[in-house]
């Protein structure tokens, strides 16, 4: 088995462990889009503080891993106009669907939630279309 696949599995176990501790620890589904969007939505200060703590860990620890050496850093593979369009779609779409790869994908699929499974099948299909679109248009 290629090393990348093994590292993918290992990292996946870590992501699943984070989601499980989030659920058992505080009774909530760990969804990145909801937690990030919650930072810019009106909310009680206690809720805002825990979302900020989650996002702080999510932003700072990967940067630390890259700084300390073991983690590689990656730059975008498409240009700025495409990044802006893609960012708008990811932000808008994930809020409309009330979840993204972590909330619907990891947390929803693992409890066989119909909405999680339907969302995951849909965004993987349109993700395939997105890659094809970018290639057809010469963006990537």
């Amino acid at each position: 088995m290629p090393l990348d696949w093994l590292l993918g599995l290992l990292g996946g176990l870590m992501i699943g462990a984070a989601a499980a501790v989030f659920l058992i620890g505080m009774g909530q589904v760990m969804g990145a889009s909801g937690l990030i969007a919650g930072l810019i939505a009106p909310a009680p200060s206690a809720r805002r503080a825990e979302r900020a703590a989650f996002v702080a860990g999510l932003v700072l620890v990967p940067a630390l891993l890259v700084q300390l050496g073991p983690g590689p850093a990656f730059a975008p593979v498409v240009g700025w106009p495409v990044l802006i369009l893609a960012g708008l779609l990811v932000g808008f779409g994930s809020r409309l669907a009330n979840g993204c790869t972590s909330g619907h994908g990891v947390c929803g699929v693992s409890r066989l939630a119909p909405r999680g499974i339907a969302a995951t099948l849909t965004y993987v299909a349109s993700g395939v279309a997105g890659v094809l679109l970018a290639r057809w248009a010469g963006w990537a």
Binding site: D4, W5, G8, G11, G12, M14, I15, G16, A18, A20, V21, F22, I24, G25, M26, G27, Q28, I40, E50, F54, V55, G57, L58, V59, P62, A63, F74, A75, P76, V77, V82, I84, A86, G87, L89, V90, G91, G93, R95, L96, A97, C100, T101, S102, G105, V106, R111, L112, A113, A119, T122, Y123, V124, S126, G127, G130, V131, L133, A134, W139
Partner: protein, 137 residues
């Protein structure tokens, strides 16, 4: 319990971020490689999902046996079954952006300080998109 919730959120955010780095999911080329069914397909993301879903399936089983979370907060209710246009349309738009750039919200946040100006631009646009979705109520 508020302090405990903040500590759990910080630690799980850190573990989530570390898992994204270890799994290679901060590499947008690798994510797009999984979605590139008609090109040089890269199955790594499937291994990531298998690991994460496997552990989280155990997490749900443990949660089902508990009355409350460690903080005393209630556990989530049963999963809703209703599929609607909002869910499917939102997921379709989300996936399109995901395939175009190779970033979803978690990996984009995890790359924010190391991915250069392009990632910052993506995150800014993502926040604007999230803000715009609030207009729909």
């Amino acid at each position: 319990m508020m302090a405990m919730r903040i500590v759990i959120a910080l630690l799980t955010g850190a573990l989530f971020g570390a898992g994204l780095v270890v799994s290679g999911m901060t590499d947008p080329g690798k994510v797009r490689g999984f979605l590139d069914l008609f090109g040089a397909w890269d199955p790594t993301l499937a291994f990531v999902m298998a690991g994460a879903v496997g552990v989280m399936a155990v997490g749900w089983r443990v949660a089902a046996r508990l009355d409350r979370a460690a903080t005393g907060d209630p556990m989530p209710g049963p999963a809703a079954a209703r599929l609607d246009a909002r869910l499917l349309g939102g997921a379709a738009l989300f996936g399109l952006g995901w395939g175009l750039a190779g970033y979803c919200p978690g990996p984009a946040a995890a790359s924010l300080l190391t991915g250069g100006a392009g990632v910052a631009l993506f995150v800014a646009a993502m926040l604007a998109g999230m803000r715009a979705a609030r207009w729909l109520g």
